[in-house]
Symmetry: C3
Subunit: 137 residues, 3 copies
């Protein structure tokens, strides 16, 4: 049978927060052999990405890319009542992932050597973001 | 053991169709406790997004964003035999999701308060879109 | 109980490599009934897409789209020590998928008629890419 846990991740405004270790801890509480770990971010203005965890310049450039492709105060946006960073946040979330499923090997997330799992905060202000983590056989 | 069901969703041409309730019904037929619900859209010109379900202006702006980033009749496209909306549809599908996996809590999809699951139709004409839904423990 | 297998896919530089048959073989070794197949690419400069498998012009146009949206030598990039194709590769990976989960019906991947699963190589040089495949009930 699967298990579901809720995790809460504080963010400091726009940018990536690595959550690999946090999710690994959660895996370790439930799975000792092989299985599958699925993470859902329960928000529409934050998302998930699996990215390089070694060099912070990759994270900065990713942020700059999204700021260019879906800028604030774009004349395209009509959904503006929640602030200028809200609609860009929804677009960024649609372009990245809201759920990811990672195979687990011997109780460890099967990510590659240079991969980290990140919560991608898209709003300017700090938030507390809720994740659901499902662990199955 | 998991169960797989096929759902059919009619669309009215380009845009988002909320399918949260339809998928929840399907979950309710198979899962009463915790588990995992995976949805696959079986097409390359429609996709899935988890987005804000409250304000229709967010859905309109998302549609406008994709129309700008992958427009019809872009000189870049050589794959044009199936119509001017076909290649943009493939690009939109690649940028969003073809599969999503949502943890289930007590028989309910674990989406956040403001999240809805949407089928994103990328062709101009109405279609009947097939989804596969897997429910596991 | 689930099973996890490692697959290795050689690429010939930037572009799509269809892996549907390879993953189907792996499914066939473990699942004869219904279930779920999850694939993770263990790299940050290659990714996964489910796309049209019939006409190679769709794959070429998809490649051209990503070359335009995240070009090499873009003044935006500061992460350049691993070569001009490295940061565009990370952006492409973030915009597509690192993991996909496909329901399995009677031992067969439940993809639609025109869908294929592709490994998307984002670096210029050929690589050997590792995938983890999880098969569950």
């Amino acid at each position: 049978m699967g298990n579901v846990e809720t995790l809460v991740v504080p963010t400091r405004g726009r940018g990536l927060v690595e959550i690999t270790a946090l999710v690994q801890e959660c895996v370790g509480r439930h799975l000792h052999g092989d299985g599958l770990c699925t993470v859902l971010v329960r928000h529409t203005s934050a998302s998930l990405v699996i990215q390089e965890n070694a060099d912070p310049s990759a994270a900065r450039d990713l942020e700059a890319f999204f700021a260019r492709i879906a800028p604030e105060r774009d004349p395209l946006w009509t959904h503006t009542t929640e602030g200028p960073d809200d609609m860009p946040a929804h677009v960024r979330a649609a372009l990245t992932a809201t759920t990811v499923s990672i195979p687990v090997l011997g109780g460890r997330l099967g990510l590659g050597t240079w991969q980290g799992l990140f919560l991608f905060e898209h709003r300017r202000r700090p938030h507390r973001r809720e994740l659901l983590v499902h662990l199955g056989g």
